[in-house]
């Protein structure tokens, strides 16, 4: 057996199908370091897939001082979707910072804001920045008041989903979403206000 055969038969072998000769596969793996590595990687991949959480069930790190038990109790009821618009211009125009209608913060728990982004064309190496007020954090990034990452934007409409965690001592402030790309930069300010009134759905464009 050669390396190509080993790799072509690996899935059948792993899944217990008859197509692969078990003894030949084991013999080749045990004598070929490259295929042994391939075997380890494939098994690690499948182990990872078998324990992949359902979307929306990502494990969240806990942080001292945050009301963890209340998260659990309230999470199911406090997921709110809000559509806000941010339009990227083809060319850099005058700086503008639209302000969205205020969003009522959940008393404590999880809350989701979805910002619709309209892009005239595809952009790679787009820098996304989200700034958060005291007591509000991006799920998965505990304690970070500013989270920055890079990605790409396709032409047309994308959704920037921001799963927020609101602590019991959050009093409001501003969420600032900034998108920097080859054609310029756009920013959207979302006022976050303390309260428990139902959220309005608004659209804002730059």
């Amino acid at each position: 057996m050669n390396c190509e055969e080993f790799r072509n038969l690996w899935s059948d072998w792993h899944d217990g199908h008859d197509d692969a000769d078990d003894a030949a596969m084991v013999r080749h793996r045990d004598t070929c370091p490259e295929c042994a590595r391939h075997d380890r990687q494939m098994r690690a991949l499948l182990d990872g897939l078998a324990t992949l959480p359902l979307p929306g069930e990502q494990e969240q790190p806990e942080r001292a001082g945050w009301a963890a038990p209340r998260w659990a109790a309230l999470a199911a009821t406090l997921v709110i979707g809000i559509a806000l618009g941010l339009v990227l211009a083809q060319r850099e125009g005058p700086a503008s910072t639209p302000e969205a209608a205020p969003v009522e913060l959940a008393v404590a728990g999880e809350q989701r804001i979805a910002i619709a982004v309209e892009s005239p064309r595809r952009y790679d190496d787009v820098e996304f920045t989200v700034q958060l007020p005291e007591g509000v954090e991006l799920a998965g990034f505990p304690g970070q008041r500013e989270v920055r990452w890079t990605g790409s934007l396709s032409e047309g409409r994308s959704r920037l989903r921001l799963p927020l965690r609101v602590s019991s001592d959050a009093w409001g402030g501003e969420l600032v979403a900034r998108i920097r790309h080859a054609g310029g930069e756009r920013q959207l300010v979302v006022p976050l206000v303390d309260g428990s009134v139902a959220v309005e759905i608004d659209e804002v464009s730059a």
Partner: protein
């Protein structure tokens, strides 16, 4: 005025689909990639099934049948929506983890759930869906064949290619 026959039919329908709802919701969530879209897909499914209450109520094993209808609905009307670009801020930012990983262990240690999910999302739909059902949800090849209406030989080939693509993607090959 209530129609007693219709009401009885509705009850039988609910009894037939009730035990499968968690399973259907899970499958819908995996396929659409979001709990909100999964709920919408399930709503669509229920609307479709309303006119087939009698047929559903008479099913001996409703789960495979319902899974198949759900999957067809997803393929026909929802798969395209999934391809709409989305950025999930909870998974995109790079927190710098893994910077000090040694090359030999890099693949295993770099297999975070975020990277796995992204690599899965990058697969072509026909490979992603079989990996979701077979490798993530643990369906047998026969069950996947029944749900998707695809021969097992084709599924094995797609599984092989999809896994290989994911490995190469995650290994940076």
């Amino acid at each position: 005025m209530r129609n007693p026959v219709r009401s009885l039919q509705a009850k039988r329908f609910e009894r037939a689909i009730g035990p499968s709802m968690d399973h259907l919701r899970r499958l819908a969530t995996r396929l659409t990639g979001s709990t909100a879209d999964a709920e919408d897909l399930l709503q669509d499914l229920m609307l479709r099934l309303q006119s087939r209450m009698e047929e559903v109520a008479a099913l001996e094993k409703p789960r495979p049948w319902l899974s198949r209808v759900l999957y067809r609905l997803f393929v026909d009307e929802w798969r395209r929506r999934r391809s709409t670009p989305e950025i999930d801020a909870s998974v995109e930012p790079d927190d710098g983890a893994g910077d000090e990983v040694q090359p030999e262990d890099a693949f295993e240690q770099g297999l975070t759930r975020t990277r796995l999910q992204r690599a899965l999302d990058r697969l072509p739909a026909f490979q992603r869906e079989i990996i979701i059902m077979h490798d993530v949800e643990g369906y047998t090849l026969v069950e996947v064949a029944e749900i998707t209406g695809t021969p097992t030989g084709t599924l094995k080939s797609r599984l092989h290619r999809g896994r290989g693509t994911m490995r190469a993607d995650l290994a940076g090959d």
